[in-house]
Amino acid sequence: MSRKQKTMLVQILFSAFLFAVACFLPLSGFWKIVAFAVPYLLVGFSVLKNAVLSVFRGQMLDENFLMAIASVGAFVLGEYPEGVAVVLFYRVGELFESYAVGKSRASVSALMSLCPDEVTVLRNGEWVVVSPEEISVGESVRVLPGEKIPLDGTVLEGFSSLDTRSLTGEFIPKDVTAGDSVFSGCVNLTGVLILRAEKEFEESTASKILALVEDAAAHRSKSESFVTTFARYYTPIVIAVALLVGILPPLFGSDWATWIYRALEFLVVSCPCALVISVPLSYFGGIGGASRKGILVKGSDRLEALAKADTVVFDKTGTLTKGVFEVTSVDAEDPEFVLEIAALCEQFSHHPIARSLREGWGGKLSEERVSDFEEIAGFGVSAKVDGILYFVGKEDWLLQKGYSLPAAQVSGTRIFVANQEKCLGVITISDRLKETSAPSVSALRRLGIRRVVMLTGDGMSAAQAVATECGIDEVRANLLPRDKVAALKEISATAKGSVVFVGDGMNDAPVMTAAHVGVAMGGIGSDAAIEASDVVLMQDDLSALPKAVSLARKTHRIVMENMIFSIAVKLLVMILCGFGVANMWHAVFADVGVSVIAILNAMRTLSRK
């Protein structure tokens, strides 16, 4: 709590105490006025002062001014407790608002405290401590265990484990050693690292993320624009109504005091604060909370669109799959042996498939065991292993040689291994699904995403296999990049809600732009991905996507609750005031009480869940 807030709190507590005392004292007449005037002035002096000043500045619709009129008016009408209550609770609301805003700001910035305040740098042969802004590219920076990496760089010396949680939202220690790139915002866990700064502070990952989250507030959602417009007209209209209520009925013979009292109630309800603060507060909390989970949302409008998602379109390679070819199955009587033969035979080949085979076996290669190696480009290799001749290659090639081969069981690239008599087995190599893809797709479906589509440039059979494994029912294969844009537009045309496209952000920028929400994965260190997309998942897998959608929905729901609740209560209280059913206390509740409830509700977006 700041000093200003503490002073305010003391004033409020004192005044509330005196107010309570005054309510119980059996006073009347002049002494009653004094008893209530003391707590009133204690808490309301600044309101009165600001009210007078605002009149001089020509700000007639200033809240202080309105509250001053309402409370002084209540005093004049002899409703002393109501007069005190108006300012007392107005100040309570003010205090609460500033406390809540400060608190959420601090909570977001603490969790976003990605950048250290000082850095140790080597200058003229000595380690000196400077602020991170002063480091230029190429300088050597020392990071001790427990410190944050201040700038993007490469490791010159040392090895250590990094905690990337502040960037990715999940604790996965990453081991680094000389030559590896490191990103600012990670925490150095175990060893001393000497880094070469590759980017300036402002250009480094952590600073960029911070700037992105701050600027997200500039992209306002429809709800925010609505609230702003609403607030612009709400106050003048309520004040006009207050004037009419205070003047018209008495002119037609009603009692002046009753109607002026009712007009004052309208003034108390006239502040749109609850709405104006709670909507941006909710989005701020939502975006801040998302960034802690490794999800960067580039604006409230994007969060709103994400909340309304009903179609999710995935790119295949690199998004649902790893984009790396691996041995996925070995079909043979002795799979281990077949894989060993294949790896040994292929050890001199530079073909990507040869590499996959070697990695798939994982055993120690031996040049001595292999002789008579021959590579037939595009078909396969033949070689002697431990003196026995083997053929390792494609289906066509072995069929030509007269082997009978088993039919395809699974999709992917098939490599056959044969000796001189018969085929020993078949190894299937394919792009592997990320472990998180299938669970993420089903999580999205549970969230009520109606349609899940996969777009790919690959052939239909490979695409279909991936789709089936992920639980995706709609596949568009053999697409050129421009076909992807066309396909996405066609999907958007029939979608009820918004269409989310998820890709790696590198090759599919045009598709990202065409979607309502473009989501890029693996955002760390990739400027292109951050640039092209609306939402960036810092980790290179999809598990954050369902989280992002439910977080967006939660935020959206809170915003809607706040808007409907605040407007409804205010309207209701105004109607009741107009008919004389509600009194000043209800009006105070409709102003401050609603603010407090809306702010508390908005702060739920910051919760860790």
Partner: protein, 72 residues
Amino acid sequence: MKKSYKIQNLCCANCARKIEDGMKKIPGVIDAKILFMVQKLNLEVEDGALEPVLAEAKKVAKKVEPDCEIIG
């Protein structure tokens, strides 16, 4: 031309809205946005108009909230 400024002592969201509305009416301002939660002002002005616009913007802010300071 776009510029971003820090704002201090802006403690009411509705005031921020009023200040923003006021700033948008200043001649030479293309767009003005006050980011209340991060206490920032994003100002987009016509080229060369920055100095007078900024002076006027500060006045607008003071008029609504006397404590409010635009830094820079």
